[in-house]
């Protein structure tokens, strides 16, 4: 095998390794999404009595602008944090991320926001299509 063929074979092997990792990543993401939607409806998000969906979403928008906009952008299209439009994960997963944060990426908001406020935030995030 001459050096040129060896270079091509090496580049192909590196590309295949990266391609394999990409395929595995897509599979894991699909599995994570499916598991997220299989979770039973979460009853841990109390909605304030008498709050209409519109009020809840408006409160959620205010909370978003105060707590989330500096990382996710005022339009939630992403800045330092990701775009939050058309989130393909369950309410439970969103609430968990808000409450616990993501290690090394996003702080926990469990002390800052009550369950009612997290419910309002989720209601607002669901309007982002």
């Amino acid at each position: 095998m001459n050096p040129c063929q060896r270079f091509l074979a090496s580049a192909l092997a590196g590309g295949l390794a990266l391609g394999g990792a990409t395929l595995l990543a897509h599979g894991l993401q699909a599995q994570a999404r499916a598991l997220s939607h299989e979770q039973p409806p979460w009853t841990g998000l109390p909605v304030p009595p008498g709050a209409s969906p519109e009020t809840l979403r408006a409160n959620g928008r205010d909370l978003f602008l105060n707590s989330c906009a500096h990382c996710h952008g005022a339009d939630a299209r992403g800045d330092e944090g990701p775009d939050l439009h058309a989130l393909d994960v369950s309410d439970r997963r969103i609430a968990t991320v808000i409450r616990l944060g993501i290690s090394g990426e996003m702080p926990s908001f469990a002390k800052k926001h009550s369950p009612e406020e997290i419910a309002a935030l989720i209601a607002y995030l669901r309007t982002l299509r």
Partner: protein, 141 residues
């Protein structure tokens, strides 16, 4: 398995794929320094085997990392910086190992020097990825 356990497993699995390319680059550099002596061939062989082991060990390390991030190949902030170095490093590691495995004839000194340069580039990429990965690991509960 909880994310903390995956993080610990990934941290444990990644040590050899990070350390072995450093050893390989060191052996290859030393071989370059004593090119005309018989030791050079033995150093090259040691560097080659270290690279093969690193490439083999990197597969479970990459798989555990992908499971840990639920298939997120980039992420944000420190995770993004980690990944921006990991993927070129891993591609280069596999390519260098395959290149080395397919080499049948004795390399020229200049050719070997090019390989050494790529070896140290790999070490730099791995080191940067390890640095950001280490910062992420510290933030895990």
């Amino acid at each position: 398995m909880d994310p903390g356990a995956w993080a610990r497993l990934h941290g444990a699995l990644i040590h050899f794929p990070v350390a072995l390319p450093v050893f390989a680059a060191g052996c290859d550099t030393a071989a370059l320094g004593c090119w005309s002596r018989p030791t050079a061939a033995r150093l090259q062989a040691a560097g080659g085997y270290a690279l093969y082991l690193a490439a083999l060990g990197s597969v479970p390390a990459v798989v555990s990392g992908l499971v840990l991030t639920r298939g997120d190949m980039l992420g944000h902030d420190a995770l993004r910086r980690h990944h921006l170095l990991v993927w070129p490093a891993w591609t280069l590691l596999i390519a260098l190992a395959v290149w080395r495995a397919l080499r049948r004839e004795e390399p020229t000194r200049a050719g070997h020097a090019v390989g050494v340069a790529f070896g140290w580039l790999l070490v730099a990429l791995m080191g940067g990825a390890g640095h950001w990965g280490g910062l992420l690991a510290q933030s895990f509960p």
